[in-house]
């Protein structure tokens, strides 16, 4: 069974540019989460989808971040325009409906210069 995949693995952009991160969850997992770890700090929750609906987006930093999950399969996280403080590792995780175990992808390392 394929795990959670994320694309790209790394992204280096300049301040003010736009970046779109993609996450493909494990097939059949209704729950999809986005998290972010900034420079050695804790991994912080960003938002949670159940199928195509946003269940909880309380962790989204501001309106420069837009997450979508059209059709309830893969998800994208767009940052527009990117700021220096957006640098970090963005993780996606998925779980089965009602399942506690979250399976994480390898992350996208974003560097904003």
């Amino acid at each position: 069974e394929a795990g959670v995949t994320q694309f790209p693995s790394h992204s280096v952009i300049e301040k003010g540019q736009t970046v779109t991160l993609r996450c493909d969850p494990i097939s059949g997992h209704d729950n999809l989460y986005w998290y972010r770890r900034v420079m050695g700090k804790e991994i912080k929750f960003l938002l949670h989808f159940v199928k195509e609906s946003k269940q909880d987006e309380s962790g989204m930093p501001n309106n420069r971040f837009l997450a979508e999950r059209t059709g309830g399969t893969y998800s994208t996280l767009k940052v527009q325009p990117a700021e220096l403080e957006d640098s970090g590792v963005y993780f996606c995780a998925s779980s089965q409906g009602g399942g506690e175990t979250q399976y994480f992808g390898p992350g996208t390392r974003l560097l904003v210069l």
Binding site: N31, Y35, K41, I43, F45, Q55, E100, Q102
Partner: protein, 113 residues
């Protein structure tokens, strides 16, 4: 506001020794306490988890000890091996938060040969 405090930040232990990582929390509503293990370049992976109705859970060389009254839980790695060198995160969640994980800051464990 960080909900869980993890210590130490880093740990060096000799092969065969015991690694101990501690986490403390405030909110008594949390009811699921997983530990995640992360290797460089990979995403966090569930290692072991506990619910507050038990005080200890053991899986192989890994043991979680849980002290509900003190609101603390810890991970013990017995007979540490070089392959255990990784970053360990404690986390917690409550049933009402749809699985949103709140993580500690992580402990980098290095096991020397």
């Amino acid at each position: 506001q960080q909900q869980v405090k993890q210590s130490p930040q880093s740990l060096i232990v000799q092969k065969g020794g015991i690694s101990i990582i501690n986490c403390a929390y405030e909110n008594t509503a949390f009811d699921y306490f997983p530990w995640y293990q992360q290797f460089p370049g990979k995403g966090p992976a569930l290692l072991i988890a506990i619910r507050p109705d038990v005080s200890e859970k053991k899986e192989g060389r890994f043991t979680i000890s849980f002290n509900k009254s003190a609101k603390q839980f810890s991970l013990h790695i017995m007979d540490s091996q070089p392959g255990d060198s990784a970053t360990y995160f404690c986390a917690l969640t409550d049933g009402g938060s749809w699985g949103k994980l709140q993580f500690g800051a992580g402990t980098q464990v290095v096991v020397t040969p």
